[in-house]
């Protein structure tokens, strides 16, 4: 009986999810580049471990071609502010802050790291959007979802 109740509740939660997403859940902005092949769920769960693992590879062994590169994260997940420049973590619109403010987890990364891309990194991401009509269409589709 208890199991039945639990599964009924879970079904209700699942059916209600789209409604919740509109209002209560954080509205995570779409990134500019290609989507992660591992899927968003994987990165949402594992990004702290990947970032802290890969930072040691870079700092100690000089390996810069890593999956968890904060520089790449910040460039690809940049959100344009009202002044047409990427916003910093001071803004709740920042890709990291949309989620981290929601779950009340402080981000220490940006005490030292810049929370927005430098002009060169920012413009390096943009061609991947307008390179071909297909890529632009794919990007617009991702945004509209």
């Amino acid at each position: 009986m208890k199991k039945l109740l639990v599964s009924v509740l879970m079904m209700a939660a699942l059916l209600g999810a789209p409604v919740l997403a509109e209002g209560l859940l954080p509205n995570i902005p779409a990134a500019l580049g290609e989507p992660h092949p591992e899927g968003n769920e994987f990165w949402r769960v594992n990004h702290p471990e990947i970032l802290s693992h890969d930072r040691d590879l870079t700092v100690q062994d000089g390996i810069r071609d890593i999956d968890g590169s904060l520089k790449t994260c910040v460039a690809c997940h940049a959100v344009e502010g009202p002044d047409a420049a990427p916003v910093t973590t001071a803004s709740p619109e920042h890709a990291c802050m949309t989620c981290h403010e929601y779950v009340a987890v402080k981000v220490d990364c940006f005490q030292c790291h810049n929370s927005r891309p430098e002009a060169a990194d920012w413009s390096a991401v943009l061609p991947s959007l307008g390179g071909t009509p297909e890529s632009l269409r794919a990007y617009l589709e991702r945004i509209s979802q």
Partner: protein
């Protein structure tokens, strides 16, 4: 794909991540199409094994009124010295004067990238460390800002960040409460530029007082110069075997 060279027990290993990532892809893509893009990075990435990066500075070619290397470093790494006692100095121009003759010498002094660095000996957290290619760095992820290394350094090469920093250079993260110093433009070395910001700036002025290279590579320009012409280490009496050498002082 990068296989970690040193497995860290408490952390999730790349192998585990791959397994989980693979599993997830199979679940989401039941059609049999695999979008996994791990692996395939053939080019060697990371520090050059067996290298000892160093600088050779000819004080005879360094005019007293030139500070191109200092401004280039400041621009490259985003630090600013406005003359306050607490302002950072990754590199500074120093004037040496011989007491008996009065002969004066102007030269840039930065972290000397010791082979046996005192800053590494005294660091309580292991944040101050020497890379395998001889570059002495602060790992700001573990630095607690105790400043022991600043006390230990015979060359006053390290600075403490006293203020909140914003809009840092991406390649040079800096933050309040940590110690910093010359990192021999480690991001440029890893990128394969084969030079540093200060050396580039010095060459651009035409003075050509600075030279960068691998001291361990007998074919390199710097190794040949060190083997051919007289050069000295600052405070050679300390026996630290420095990566930065000077001529004509």
């Amino acid at each position: 794909m990068i296989i970690p060279t040193k497995e860290k027990g408490a952390e999730i290993s790349r192998r585990d991540l791959l397994k989980k990532g693979g599993a997830m892809a199979t679940v989401t893509l039941a059609s049999g199409v695999t979008l996994m893009s791990f692996g395939g990075k053939a080019a060697a990435d990371g520090l050059k094994p067996g290298a000892r990066w160093g600088l050779l500075i000819d004080a005879g070619k360094c005019p007293e009124d030139c500070s191109a290397c200092v401004s280039a470093c400041s621009k490259e790494h985003g630090w600013e010295d406005n003359g306050l006692d607490t302002d950072p100095q990754w590199i500074r121009k120093v004037t040496l004067r011989e007491k008996s003759s009065g002969r004066e010498n102007s030269l840039p002094v930065m972290c000397q990238h010791c082979d046996e660095p005192p800053c590494v000996d005294v660091c309580p957290t292991g944040a101050s460390f020497k890379r395998e290619d001889g570059i002495v760095l602060v790992n700001k992820h573990t630095c607690i800002g105790c400043r022991y290394c600043m006390m230990a350094c015979p060359f006053k090469a390290r600075s403490f960040v006293h203020e909140q920093v914003t809009d840092q250079r991406t390649a040079s993260p800096r933050g309040n409460g940590t110690v910093e110093g010359c990192n021999m433009c480690v991001h440029k070395i890893d990128r394969g530029d084969g030079t540093t910001a200060c050396v580039e700036a010095c060459q651009a002025t035409g003075n050509n007082a600075m030279m960068f290279g691998d001291l361990n590579d007998p074919e390199s320009e710097i190794a040949i110069a060190v083997a051919t012409y007289a050069s000295v280490e600052l405070r050679a009496d300390l026996g630290l075997n420095l990566g930065v050498r000077y001529q004509n002082i």
